[in-house]
Symmetry: C2
Subunit: 330 residues, 2 copies
C-alpha cells in the first residue's frame, strides 16, 4: 500500500519553513506480530514538533534528518496483528506525520467517534486537554477566589486550562497576541480579562487585571511574558511550566531576570508532563467530556486540509494565526 | 544611656561601601509599656542587608536613609516592661545594627548561653541554621542516594544545608569561590566534592560530579551558576531558592536562559522563608543542637570586632573573604 509521509529535510534556523520538510509517496510496511497498520485521519500540529527539529539541547530528543516527525494523531485500524485492536477500531497515539502508520500497538489508546468527533481526541479529549487538566489541577491547584493568569490563552492548551480554572471559581486572565485573539478569549471562552502581550503596557495591564497579584500563572510561552508575570506574583504563587513557545524559535526568548520573586513570594515554578499521569488519562477524559457536554467548556479546532499543508500549518502555529487546536486532516 | 547606631547614609551602586553608612553615638530610648531595652552583643551580617539598602524592586522592603539596618542580633535584656522577659535574659531577634535596642518584646526569642555560646544563636542555632534546615528538608526533601548540589557551600547557610543532606545519605557537591573555600568544604565540612564557580570548566565539572544529574540544587547565588545547574537536573529535581547573592550587587546576575529544563525534567524551583515555619523553630533548633553536639555537623563563625567594623564586614561578605557565619561583636 502506498502512503504519504512528511519527513524532516533540514533543521530550521528560527521559524520553521516549508523547505525544512520533504513530502514523499512511499510504500507502507505491513504489520509484524504485535503491530498494527493504521490509516491516519488527523495529525496534531503542536509546538513540540519544533523542538524535535533541533539537533540538540532541545526539550525533546531530536529527529534525524529523513525522519517522520513524532506527532500525535488519530486514525482507523486497517490491519491488526495485536490482540488489543481489530480492524475498524479508532485509536489515538504517536502515529506521526504520515497517512499510514505501521508499528507497535503499545501506547495506542482506543477512542470512540460515536462519543465525540474523531478530531476532538487530538484536542480537548486528548493530550491537549489532559495537559491543561493536570497542569492546572495538579500543579496549579486553583482555589476559588484566586487569580489565575494563562498565556497562550487562545491556544489549544491555554484555552482549556483557563476554562478549568474558571470552573473552580477563579478570576481568570488570559494573555494572547493581538486584539482579535483577546476578544475571542473573553467573548467566546469566558475569561474575565485578556491582555495583549504585543501591547507595550502589558505590565501595567497585568497590575490592573490582577490587583491582588497572580496566584497561578499557567505558562505556555516563557520569555519576556514569564519575566513580567514574575513581578506580579501573589504570595505562594504556583507557575506550572507547560511550554515556552518564545524559546522554540529563539524569538523573544529573553533570559529571566526576575526569578528571585519566587523567593520573595515563596513561589513555585514547576514543569510537568502528561506522561507523569499514565493511570489518570481516563479520569481526565471523563471530566473533560462532561464539561464539554454540559457546555461549561467550549473548545475549537483549526483544521487544515491535507497532509501537504503540514509545513504551512506549523508556520501558522508559530505565527499565531489560528485559534484553538491546530491539526491537519489527511 | 548612650548607644552606637549604624545608619544608612547612601544607597549603594554595585558593591556596598563603608561610605554608605553613618556610625553615630546617640541616646538610647527608655522602654515603653510592652517594650524592652537590650544590650546587643553580636550582630549578624547577612546578604539581606544589601537588599534593604535598595530604594525599591528589591527582595525586602527598603530602609529609609537614616534608618538602622534590620539585622538579626543577640543580646542581654537590661530593662523590661514586658512580662515575657526579665533583666539578665538573653534574646535573639531583629535588634538591628546598634549597640542597644529599645522596642517591642514581640518577636524576640529567648536563648540560653549555657547551652551554646551566644554567637551560635546567630549561626547554626538561629535563623541561619533554620533556613538550611527548612530549605533542605521541607523544600528539597532529600532521599538517601540522591545527588545534592549546594552553592555558597562555604557560607553560613550553604555549609549547614549540605551537611544536613549528607546526614540524609545523599552525595553532596558544593559550589564555592576559589580553591581555598573548596578545600574547606571538602576537608572540614565533609562534602563529597566541591566545584569552584570561578573555574571556566564549571559546567564540565558539574557533569563529572553529578553523573546521574542533580536531584536537589540548594541555591544561594542565582545568576550563571543557577543557569548552569539547570542544564544538569535529574528527573523531578527540586531547587530550593534560598538567595541570589549574584543579583544583590548586580554582579554576575545574568538572566536565566535554561528554565525550560524544569519542563523537560519536571523540576520544581521554589522560594521559601523561615517565616513560613513559625511553629517549628524549636524543632529545628533541637535537631541542629543534637547534630552539633554529636559532631555530625560542624559550623564556623567569622567574628569581626566592634560595631564600627560593620561596613567592612559587609564588604567581606560580598567579597567572599570569610567562611561560615559572619557577624560583628559589639
Amino acid at each position: 500500500m502506498r502512503k504519504i509521509a512528511v519527513r524532516l529535510r533540514a533543521r530550521p534556523v528560527g521559524m520553521p519553513q516549508a523547505s525544512d520538510w520533504d513530502i514523499r509517496e512511499e510504500e507502507a510496511a505491513a504489520p509484524d506480530e504485535g503491530e498494527v497498520l493504521i490509516a491516519v485521519r488527523y495529525v496534531s500540529v503542536s509546538p513540540s514538533i519544533r523542538n524535535q527539529m533541533e539537533a540538540g539541547g532541545a526539550y525533546l530528543p531530536p529527529l534525524a534528518i529523513g525522519d517522520v516527525a513524532r506527532a500525535r494523531a488519530v486514525g482507523e485500524v486497517l490491519e491488526s496483528r495485536s490482540p488489543a485492536f481489530a480492524p475498524g477500531d479508532h485509536v489515538e497515539g504517536l502515529l506521526g506525520t504520515q497517512s499510514h502508520f505501521t508499528g507497535s500497538a503499545a501506547g495506542l489508546m482506543k477512542v470512540d467517534p460515536n462519543v465525540a468527533p474523531l478530531e476532538r481526541y487530538l484536542g480537548a479529549l486528548g493530550m491537549t486537554g489532559f495537559t491543561a487538566y493536570f497542569g492546572m489541577l495538579d500543579i496549579g491547584r486553583p482555589v476559588s477566589g484566586e487569580t489565575v493568569v494563562v498565556s497562550g490563552a487562545a491556544g489549544a492548551v491555554g484555552s482549556i486550562a483557563g476554562q478549568i480554572a474558571r470552573l473552580k471559581g477563579c478570576r481568570v486572565v488570559g494573555i494572547a497576541g493581538g486584539p482579535a485573539k483577546c476578544a475571542h478569549v473573553v467573548d467566546d471562552l469566558g475569561f474575565d480579562d485578556c491582555i495583549d502581550h504585543l501591547d507595550e503596557r502589558m505590565g501595567e495591564r497585568l497590575g490592573e487585571a490582577a490587583p491582588r497579584g497572580v496566584d497561578i500563572y499557567f505558562d505556555n510561552v516563557g520569555g519576556k511574558v514569564l519575566d513580567e508575570v514574575l513581578l506580579h506574583l501573589a504570595l505562594r504563587a504556583r507557575i506550572p511550566i507547560c511550554g515556552g513557545i518564545a524559546h522554540y524559535n529563539s524569538i523573544g526568548a529573553v533570559g529571566l531576570k526576575n526569578h528571585l520573586k519566587l523567593l520573595e513570594m515563596r513561589g513555585r515554578m514547576e514543569g510537568f508532563s502528561i506522561y507523569d499521569y499514565p493511570t489518570r488519562h481516563l479520569e481526565a477524559r471523563d471530566a473533560l467530556a462532561g464539561w464539554l457536554a454540559d457546555g461549561s467548556i467550549v473548545t475549537r479546532e483549526h483544521i487544515e486540509d491535507g497532509l501537504d499543508r503540514f509545513p504551512e500549518a506549523l508556520k501558522l502555529l508559530f505565527g499565531g494565526a489560528q485559534l484553538g487546536k491546530l491539526m491537519v486532516k489527511v
